[in-house]
């Protein structure tokens, strides 16, 4: 499809046009270009409408950032969900509440009674303060960001904090629905969710490894203490098929990493010459 000037399609002047003008022009043209009667005409009109709105939005953002000196990295996470932010960006809502909830969850996870039972974790997460959609959203974003930060080491590899195990990660994911979220529009979200998948693999490898290996590793000071026997057995039973897949997956990943390294190296040599 060739690019049409959206302002010409809408019959507007680019200069001085507002969001309201664009909507009104679109509504007026839409009455004679109905999607049922003229799909092709409608698609062109719709594209013009979306392009015009996007242009207005960019202009507004440029104007805003001209005045901002210090760009805060954390902010990017809060507004990560504001994809179509033409109406009102989903800004951080009540972050103090969300932050408090997150620190309470972390505190609770450190207690030995909660950390390994799904019921206990769910009780920690089911909070009436987080009933409202906005607080729940901030709570979810904060929690995801916290898990992401806590599992990322300085050199970019996966690190596991004491309070995190497979049950905790799974309960968090079930409660907030992170991995079922659409991430197509949002690279930072996608990045964090892909990272979670890596964390899950590391945890699975650790928790399902034979007991003597884990104990040896623990003595050497690398690993968290072994799980109680009953838990290990249950986990091993439930995760048998997963284990196989994760092994073959990690094989594939090693392969990819290897090849990527090779290509990089070749590139370096080529550019060096």
């Amino acid at each position: 499809m060739s690019y049409n000037d959206p302002w010409a399609v809408l019959g507007l002047m680019r200069d001085g046009a507002t969001e309201g003008d664009v909507k009104a022009a679109y509504a007026e043209k839409l009455k004679v270009t109905r999607p049922d009667d003229d799909p092709a005409g409608f698609m062109a009109l719709r594209a013009a409408f979306e392009n015009a709105r996007a242009q207005l939005r960019w202009a507004a953002e440029d104007a805003e950032y001209d005045g901002v000196e210090d760009y805060n990295d954390d902010e990017a996470v809060y507004s990560a969900n504001a994809r179509d932010s033409d109406i009102e960006p989903a800004q951080q809502t009540d972050p103090p509440t969300a932050l408090r909830l997150v620190s309470e969850v972390l505190e609770g996870l450190k207690s030995p009674w909660v950390g390994s039972s799904k019921l206990g974790i769910n009780a920690l997460l089911d909070r009436t303060e987080a009933d409202s959609v906005d607080v729940f959203q901030s709570f979810s974003d904060e929690m995801l960001y916290t898990v992401y930060q806590a599992t990322t080491t300085d050199d970019g590899s996966v690190g596991i904090p004491d309070w995190l195990n497979l049950t905790v990660l799974q309960s968090l994911d079930d409660h907030f629905g992170w991995s079922r979220q659409s991430t197509a529009h949002n690279w930072s979200m996608r990045n964090m969710i892909t990272h979670l998948e890596k964390v899950r693999r590391v945890l699975r490898d650790r928790e399902l490894a034979p007991r003597h290996i884990r104990r040896r590793a623990h003595k050497a000071g690398y690993e968290p203490p072994p799980l109680p026997i009953s838990d290990t057995r249950r986990a091993a039973k439930a995760g048998k098929s997963d284990e196989k897949r994760s092994i073959s997956c990690s094989g594939v990943i090693l392969l990819i990493l290897g090849f990527m390294g090779l290509i990089n190296l070749l590139n370096l040599i080529a550019t060096g010459q």
Binding site: K23, R83, P89, F136, I256
Partner: protein
């Protein structure tokens, strides 16, 4: 289609179905043969092997569970067979029988043949389920003017009341079997869907199942171990208690089981506790829609509750807590979708009362195809999902992309079409695959243009064109387990036309006998004898074959039966 032919709007529900028509004064619901607006989506055989639909069949659900089927909308677009007597049916065929019954009611009411309909589907129905709905309509002799998403229909019904206002709606649609959330915006007569999300397997029926399982546990059995008839009776009782608990804090009922009468009690607190896990599943689809639309809760002007299951206090309380205000339900939640479908039918007919209204909807899922990622010189990792149309894109929409074979000299490309949100195809749903032969070319990579088109009913078409020789190929959804092919539809149509249909004018009496029988089976002792007397009396009236007399007797017995049926022992 001739210009003056009427189009009706149909809400084909999991539990109940309705038909409505758009008239100058607005949408109007059409009553069925019994004078009721809701026709239960239940199909069954009578004792002579003729097919019954609606209330008559619903009463027989407890007395003849093996000859009656309900809740088949949940199996739309699957190959699961539903047995009715000795025959197996597909969900499409049973739905077709319901649609045909609604069509007959509309024809009787409007006095003209009806061949076109707008049919509502859950917004979260996928392509296979939508095509199945279309096939069902075809089997019923109806041409689908358009499929409309249920929450969109609901918003249309609310929106046409005040079409100049600028509104942002959030519609929560909890029906019998499905849950939908849609966010809509209305400006200058344009009704625009911004985001939708949902759960295709979550509805009021799940709450009933949970309560029935709880009662079975009270009786000391597992619901699965009960006789089919007892189970059906217990389920019906649970359903009635669920409905009553929306109004009162505690409900009791008597249940005859294994020659003993048990009193089953449930308070609203217990009910909320039992159904807590189901209720919890409502939250994430709502969060997802709100976050997709990039809105905060105070950005919504109206929160609208749709679908019979939103009558449950716990559901309303959840919505209230989430949005800090009470949801609206000024139009009956059971009727609103059918009324909206009628508005859409009016739009399709270019009704002059709707000249200034236009509606646009979105695709509920991301669509794309499988691609391989190169990981070495001749090595590829398969299974990656390349999105082509993102979810919540306004439809109709058409997007194209160019794909290349992995290797030079390859002679075919397989395009596997998937739907879903995961970056890996293994977690997404396969819709079909398209085999594109390409010319042998050892020198360079051939190219194929793939175009996806989503029409305004949410139905998908995929066309692939080989760039070098201009040959085009269309996606035929075959080998897909859930979809029916054209020849299959033709065959089923023939089979369906052979079915004997229970005479319409006698359905009312059959329904009444079924109701009497159901009541008889549910009572013990004196009450049983009384009902037996009523049955004898009604049979006698029937034998006179005097329609007016039968109607009089029926009217006389009705209040007595209602009293006996009201299992309350308070």
């Amino acid at each position: 289609m001739a210009d003056d032919e009427k189009i009706v709007g149909i809400d084909l529900g999991t539990t109940n179905s309705l038909v409505a028509v758009f008239e100058p004064g607005g949408p109007r619901l059409i009553p069925n043969k019994h004078g009721e607006l809701l026709t239960p989506s239940v199909v069954g055989y009578d004792d002579k092997g003729a097919v019954m639909v609606g209330q008559a069949a619903k009463y027989r659900l407890t007395t003849h569970p093996e000859k009656t089927a309900a809740r088949f909308k949940r199996h739309m677009g699957t190959n699961r067979g539903i047995s009715l007597g000795k025959k197996m049916f597909r969900a499409e065929e049973l739905s077709a029988l319901v649609l045909r019954s609604l069509k007959d009611d509309a024809e009787a009411d409007l006095g003209e043949p009806i061949n076109h309909a707008v049919i509502s589907v859950p917004a979260y129905f996928n392509d296979v389920q939508r095509k199945a709905t279309q096939a069902a309509a075809e089997l019923a002799g109806l041409n689908v003017a358009r499929l409309i998403n249920e929450p969109t229909a609901a918003a249309l019904a609310y929106g046409v009341e005040d079409r100049t206002a600028e509104h942002r709606f959030l519609v929560l649609d909890l029906g019998g079997g499905t849950f939908d959330v849609s966010i809509l915006e209305m400006f200058s007569g344009v009704m625009e869907v911004r985001a939708s999300s949902g759960d295709a397997f979550l509805g009021g029926e799940d709450f009933t199942d949970a309560l029935a399982a709880h009662f079975a546990a009270q009786l000391g059995v597992k619901a699965g171990d009960m006789e089919a008839e007892d189970r059906a009776r217990l389920r019906r009782l649970a359903d009635s208690i669920k409905h009553r608990l929306s109004g009162v804090a505690e409900a009791k009922a008597e249940f005859a089981y294994k020659k003993k009468t048990h009193t089953l009690v449930c308070s609203r607190g217990t009910f909320d506790e039992i159904t807590g896990p189901i209720l919890k599943r409502l939250r994430l689809p709502i969060q997802r829609a709100v976050s997709d639309a990039g809105l905060r809760s105070d950005a919504f002007d109206r929160i609208i509750a749709v679908g019979g299951a939103t009558r449950m206090p716990a559901v309303r309380a959840l919505a209230t807590r989430m949005f800090d205000r009470f949801p609206e339900f000024s139009i009956d939640p059971d009727h609103v979708v059918a009324m909206g479908a009628a508005v859409q039918a009016g739009l399709a007919q270019r009704h002059e009362a709707l000249e200034d209204v236009v509606m646009t909807d979105v695709a509920p899922f991301t669509l794309g195809f499988e691609t391989g990622v190169q990981v070495g010189e001749h090595q590829f990792e398969r299974g990656h999902f390349s999105p082509l149309i993102e979810r919540n894109t306004v439809i109709p929409v058409s997007r194209a992309d160019t794909v290349h074979p992995l290797e030079r000299g390859q002679t075919a490309i397989v395009i596997r079409v998937y739907q879903g949100e995961s970056p890996f195809v293994r977690d997404n749903a396969l819709l079909g695959s398209l085999n594109v032969p390409i010319p042998y070319n050892k020198k360079e990579h051939e190219a194929v243009d793939v175009r996806y088109t989503y029409d305004n009913s949410g139905l998908l078409e995929v066309v692939a064109k080989v760039v070098s020789n201009d040959k085009t190929f269309r996606l035929v959804i075959e080998g897909n387990p859930g979809a029916m092919t054209a020849s299959e539809i033709a065959e089923r149509l023939k089979a369906l036309s052979k079915l004997k249909i229970h005479p319409r004018d006698k359905q009312e009496n059959t329904a009444f006998i079924a109701r009497l029988t159901a009541a008889y089976e549910n009572c013990l002792g004196d009450e049983r004898t009384r009902i037996q007397g009523l049955i004898a009396e009604f049979q006698k009236a029937l034998s006179t074959q005097d329609e007016r007399h039968v109607a009089e007797v029926r009217a006389a017995i009705e209040p007595i039966l209602s009293r006996l049926e009201n299992f309350d022992v308070l």
